[in-house]
Symmetry: C2
Subunit: 555 residues, 2 copies
């Protein structure tokens, strides 16, 4: 392993430096251009995906499947993919993970880090395969499918590897401890081991099958825990490719591929609870809805990282240019049709309107400008398909169609987003509804999908109070705020920080509140009920192992 | 605060270096000699304690007490101390903590660290006051009272301050993030805040009122959380003095003393549950029994650090000199009459006896040598009072007196430990009982106090299996092992590490399995049911605050 560790040490060191510096860093280019990834990279990815349809996925190195199962559908065609994955019972998966544990935990952290970094190099070769797999499971548009599931996910994975490696090597492996006792010194040889917690489970979601799963997967692996990846049954292929790449590297180095297993639900049997409740499973990473998330958090004797739902707010107070703000926010709600955990939902606007430069723009005009910006995007035939993508599940589509808020005023009706390439795509433009600040119960839950609520408040103070209250009580993953007033800005920072919610101020142009950069932006750090996924602050890796010390007199 | 931060920065830097190096480090001398602490330091401490008896404790800066209460008794006289402390209702304590929160959290980490380090300088001046207070509440002998409650506790507190300061300053406060976008760079100013979680509660125990409480107290404080210290009603004075020293420093710097409050039970009202269950309380540090510990761990929405009970094992396989081993182990069970969380309880001895040098010493002789060493210590009139101290509670005394193990054989009966200075001291020498390895349920619970169980096993393999199983299933805080076989040693390290239990090998002479050094030995790191107190690995401080980021376009 020496060659491998030496080869990957510079990448790890650069990643650790980036984690600490938090300036811009990306190990994997986000631009899918032929100059970077090769002239036929895109075509090969597309061909891979087409060939995979209707076939068994045979890339995994997990022996003796008990069945072949698959339930994926592409939202772009509203048709089954027909890809079948090997099914294993929870008992088999856990027993294999336990068998694989010993050899994996006995490697040195640097060796595990090198092997995992090597597997990311393999993942990089598959970015276009993963992109088409993501597109046709989640409904993301092509560019997001490539970036979020490929380079951005790989960066988050590398970040987790680097953080885990750093924490495990933060203290000496051994040292001589010499205590002066007056006439002599008492000397002990002390040593310490970072002991992995045990079998880890990663439960994926349907919308971001790699971005949300690889951090926990690589964090558990680098800290010596065998991992079982249980994707959402509707979004298996993207992460299956990643698992296959990890298994390939493990096997190449004579290690048991079951150190990292893929687990799929059978068509007639959901296995997540069986896995989660197994006493052998010590670590769980979960992305998904609140109800199941709270069940996972309530399991005894597990270390759990969750990303559940939140109610994200935009606080509008003042700005120099309202059109730029409207454009930026319209894009944020439209990107992947609002199916991002970081997408804004509640837009708090004072009834007195907004101070725009020296002018006071009335409330109704602000609402109209926002609404027009949204409908303008949805009706832009060239841009819309690439922004909105498709709706992952019919449940999300139905939620928008059936949205009936008690006492709400409809500002903009939802509608289809025309997609000339995929005529049968499941699409939906945002539904905009207005509510009064007093109707808190109407806007205090996440309405996942292209739903935008405008909340009319008395003033910015009420906007801040409500945004912070919702974040504290119901969770929030992002917050956007527009203000030219330094005192208001500091107040928002202070109050939202107590609600554990990061804030993006005054975003215009091509940077959006939804976006989250590896090596710089912490993600769901645990300060509110939206979860404690903790990408990637030290907590994310430290909680996956235990320090144990040994000591013995010398001589 | 600049002067204060500058003044204490070298101490903090040295402490951080020590945490990382894990070689011997002590900021506070453990030797209570007049040369170090002054000719009359001891006499002043003794006089302070005597003056305090029967009086109100008036050193706290907590206004308007609702009553004056106190329940302490000295185990050395089996008599009430008569010291009364100000009582405040849980509502008052929490409301004052919340009021104090804002100013405290808005200080910079370096400022909080400096203030707290300053308060440890104040604590140092009180080491002898604290020593006598500890002696006459816990029953510890004088030397342990001084060392454990004074310098060792202060070292653990400094360790927590240093770790908390380091973690909060580990990432930049702000940075310019510049992402190349092809034709231009996207530039954001990003900043981050370490946001404290909220009101913290520290629940103390009756045997180590400062050593077990100051780490959580200072860890929560340095990370910006206001703290309520709720000591065990039988051991208030030692920690009350520490709280008073913190409050003094806070007041001297114009800060609200309620940042760090003492909370005591009224004689007719226990307030711990009211405090723990308050939604405002976000952090709890707990030391004590299992049942209450599990209740605390089960509270929703809290970050909890616990040190509960464990079943500590000694594995005897082989050694060069059995008498040295017997002396060392006899001391370990006798020190403070076995009332230490790290005291060994279960001694696993193979039925074939021990390999001692080239000789095989039969089982019964090993048992006899251990028993003789224990009775020799207990009957040593000069040494015994200074080793055994007194029994803190009558419940512990009764446990030893009434010990009746189903199927056990009595090896050595308990008895009084004569104390010429305190004729009415509640004392008890160890009861040694023998059990067979098959009687697991008899030795799988902590029997707190001077109780030593000898477990006759088939061989060392069975000893290791049982020690690891007990640690995994019932918790363990320490483990001692004696072996001259390198393979056995590695096996013990491996199996006990998976059970999250530190192991001391082949201790003889004046170093004991019970002892635990700040800046070097991790303590209760969370790998088994004994708790997750985590002194002081990074987890201990990281979980007390949340990283929250902010970003805004530049220019």
């Amino acid at each position: 392993m020496t060659t491998l560790t030496t080869k990957h040490q510079p990448a790890l060191d650069a990643a650790i430096d980036a984690l600490h510096g938090r300036t811009f860093f990306a190990a994997f280019p986000e631009n899918p251009s032929p100059e970077i990834y090769g002239a036929d990279a895109d075509a090969r990815g597309r061909a891979y995906f087409e060939q995979q349809r209707g076939q068994h996925f045979t890339e995994l190195l997990q022996a003796e499947p008990e069945a072949w199962v698959g339930q994926e559908e592409t939202p772009y065609e509203q048709a089954a993919l027909g890809i079948k994955y090997p099914f294993f019972s929870p008992e088999t998966l856990i027993s294999r993970a336990q068998t694989a544990f010993t050899a994996w935990r006995k490697l040195r952290p640097a060796e595990r880090a090198a092997l995992l970094t090597e597997s990311l190099e393999g993942m990089k070769e598959r970015f276009f395969d993963i992109a088409y797999a993501t597109m046709h499971t989640t409904g993301q548009a092509y560019m997001m499918s490539f970036q979020a599931s490929g380079p951005h996910a790989a960066d988050r994975a590398l970040e987790a590897i680097a953080a885990g490696y750093e924490e495990q090597t933060r203290f000496p492996e051994e040292t001589t401890w010499e205590k002066p006792m007056g006439k002599y010194n008492l000397t002990l040889l002390k040593s310490w081991r970072a002991v992995p917690k045990g079998v880890a489970l990663v439960i994926g979601c349907a919308t971001f099958p790699t971005w949300n799963s690889v951090p926990g997967m690589f964090a558990s692996l680098v800290t010596g825990n065998p991992v079982i990846i249980k994707p959402h049954p509707k979004a298996v292929l993207p992460i299956a490719i990643v698992v296959a790449e990890v298994q390939k590297v493990l096997a190449e180095h004579g290690l048991d591929p079951n150190i990292c297993q893929l687990a799929v639900d059978a068509d007639d049997r959901l296995i997540t609870k069986d896995l989660a409740e197994s006493p052998a499973v010590k670590l769980i990473d979960y992305t998904g809805g609140n109800q199941f998330g709270e069940y996972v958090e309530g399991l005894k004797g597990k270390t759990v990282f969750t990303e559940k739902t939140g109610v994200n707010s935009i606080i509008l107070d003042s700005c120099p240019d309202l059109d730029k703000v409207a454009q930026n926010l319209a894009f944020s709600v439209s990107l992947y049709s609002g199916q991002m955990c970081t997408a804004p939902q509640n837009f708090f606007i004072p009834e007195t309107g907004l101070k725009v430069g020296e002018e006071q723009v009335p409330y109704e005009e602000v609402v109209a400008r926002l609404s027009n910006a949204v409908s303008g995007l949805a009706q832009n035939p060239k841009a819309a398909p690439h922004i909105f993508g498709a709706i992952q599940s019919s449940a999300t589509h139905e939620r928008v169609q059936q949205l009936a808020l008690n006492g709400g005023r409809s500002i903009l009706a939802h509608g289809p987003v025309d997609n000339p390439t995929f005529r049968n795509a499941r699409t939906c433009s945002p539904s905009i509804q207005e509510l009064d600040a007093s109707q808190v119960e109407q806007f205090s839950q996440e309405l996942f999908g292209p739903i935008m609520l405008i909340i009319k408040t008395k003033d910015t103070q009420e906007s801040i109070r409500l945004a912070a209250q919702l974040a504290r009580e119901h969770g929030a993953i992002s917050c956007g705020a527009y203000t030219t007033d330094e005192a208001i800005k500091e107040q928002i920072m202070d109050e939202m920080s107590l609600a554990g919610t990061p804030v993006s101020f005054n975003l215009t142009g091509s940077i959006y509140v939804n976006q989250n950069a590896g090596f710089s932006d912490f993600h769901v750090t645990g300060g509110n009920p939206a979860g404690n996924a903790s990408f990637t602050n030290p907590e994310f890796v430290i909680k996956r192992f235990t320090w144990v010390g040994f000591r013995e007199p010398v001589g």
